[in-house]
Symmetry: C2
Subunit: 344 residues, 2 copies
């Protein structure tokens, strides 16, 4: 991070935008016109596009006390791309709007945009527009992501079929435990600033919290292997909440096996340090940005090619309810306890 | 406005979104999938689309002391549609994200969305997505608008030609004077709450501030009369600032005639009440959302069909500078004094 401090008021909005966007080169053939006019122009190559948007507010969605601005820029883009992949689409463009109070310098914005551009480069996405303004308090981020999808190849949440396998990518619960560690260290720091942070061995879970990735690889695996999920969404609010979305919107029941839920060893160890149940962290902890999807049983053999995919259950008729079968063999209703910004 | 008060925390995010979006019917053929999934799906009919986004922050862009929430919802949509029209495109979809503190009730959100839907209906636009979250302070609005345009028929700011006529729709300066009245009444109210507001005769300028319209009719007039502007943008920050954008981005100079700047009689009278120069209000006052555009001189005769369009000057070679010729015959450089949220 730079040590200099240039006040944004000394530049004004147009010079700030010019500064932050001067190195953009549009890479996608569909990006016709980028930053600098009343609107950007896109020429979708596939016939259909998907559009998704997120509003992220300091103090609600992120805490700058332990979130480096570069990571925040990266994550702000990634969480939107995750929604694009969750439609079985390929992200192509984003817009990025920021509202900043005068406590942010131009150098701070450079750090933030360094992360934004790193995510754009990694995922092959063009930044084509946005808005830059002051805020009365805190940092506000609004991202809209656009992606391309072959006509009628997009995958909704509501089209799972009875008997379909319920699958998830990667592993779950880590981001929540990363957040728990960071919140603990913040509390300790506020009480005793001299105490050094103790995050030894928590690199994995903290990395999952601060710098998540979107599952581009899973969508590419589907494409390469002729798999079209019957339903899909990304896991931002916790597995149980998302499973209920797919089941309800598809008007189905489901069975989820606790023992099949993929949990990283580092996540498990982190949970034990807080006397938490790792399964509860996976079910209710948000921000893993893995993909949850259903596929016909006939596609099961194709999945074994990818060790990043776990089959965790199956869809049933609606009358059977939405159930989890524990390792001990007990059956419970799945309840949503995912993150909800209105219920803090 | 409803007298009941339902706390948003009592609903939660999903129920709030369900409540606010339950009556949506997608009207445009290009709107394939709307609210309720990871992303919306659009199938552009024209080959190219335009995308624009705005971030609006309470206390920076609007003051809820004199802005009814319904008007704010309407205006939040309209200002984005204005950017779409400014590309010579037809708006088709929007996303609407809001961040709200707990001082807002569900009934307040109903008022806001009533305005949003009124604008969508008037301009034939579908609300296809968004995000809803809490804010730590104040009301935050982020809108992204998408529009369709025939391939390569979009109009940029940077393509004005030497000799082109410089034109503007409607009249200018009214919104700024509406704001000036509202700020005056707010100040009086805060000092002496018993004093009744004195806004007699200011309906026009206040209406231009609180409930602006986007110039759909001008784009339709262009289409009907075979006119393609060489450059265009909307006037959100003040005429002088926007003229400088077109001149600089087109690498041209220009001549603007003060006497040609269209100013409504009510605007002129309002300016006199504040001892202001009406021309200065038109040049530097923002938020009129009129269209500023250039056309070849050969198209001049087509313009006389539309009394909503004024020719206010012409484009010159860059060496001639950007000049305004006053009613008294003096020539000055045009300077940007438009609104800038970083320079308050």
């Amino acid at each position: 991070m730079s040590q200099e401090r240039t006040e944004i008021a000394s530049l004004g909005e147009f010079a700030l935008i010019e500064h932050l966007t001067k190195n953009i080169e549009l890479l996608n053939a569909s990006s016709i016109l980028g930053v600098g006019d009343d609107a950007a122009v896109i020429e979708p190559l596939t016939g259909q596009i998907v559009v998704t948007t997120d509003l992220l507010v300091e103090g609600v969605h992120f805490d700058l006390m332990y979130t480096p601005l570069k990571h925040l820029g990266y994550k702000s883009v990634v969480v939107n791309l995750s929604d694009v992949y969750a439609m079985n689409a390929t992200p192509t463009q984003i817009t990025m709007s920021v509202g900043i109070s005068n406590r942010f310098s131009m150098e701070a914005m450079d750090d933030f945009y360094e992360g934004v551009y790193a995510a754009c480069e990694k995922y092959g996405v063009d930044l084509i527009g946005g808005d830059t303004t002051t805020s009365q308090k805190g940092f506000i981020i609004s991202v809209t992501a656009i992606g391309e999808v072959a006509p009628d190849k997009f995958v909704k949440r509501s089209t799972a079929q009875k008997g379909d396998l319920l699958c998830v990518s990667g592993d779950l619960g880590a981001a929540f435990l990363g957040l728990t560690f960071l919140e603990r260290e913040k509390k300790i720091f506020l009480e005793s600033p001299a105490v050094q942070p103790d995050l030894e061995g928590e690199k994995y879970v903290i990395g999952r919290m601060l710098k998540p990735e979107a599952r581009k690889d899973i969508i590419e695996f589907f494409e390469a292997n002729g798999i079209t999920p019957t339903a899909m969404m990304d896991i931002s609010d916790g597995l149980s909440s998302e499973i209920l979305h797919i089941a309800r919107q598809s008007n189905l029941g489901c069975v989820l096996y606790e023992e099949k839920i993929p949990i990283h060893d580092d996540t498990r160890n982190a949970a034990f340090k807080f006397d938490m149940d790792p399964t509860a962290c996976a079910l209710s902890g948000g921000e893993d940005y893995e993909l949850l999807f259903t596929i016909p049983q006939a596609d099961h053999d194709k999945l074994v090619l990818n060790e990043q995919i776990s089959v965790i259950g199956y869809m049933t008729e609606p009358e059977k309810g939405k159930k989890i079968i524990t390792k001990g063999g007990n059956t419970f209703d799945i309840t949503a306890q995912g993150w909800n910004s209105f219920h803090k």
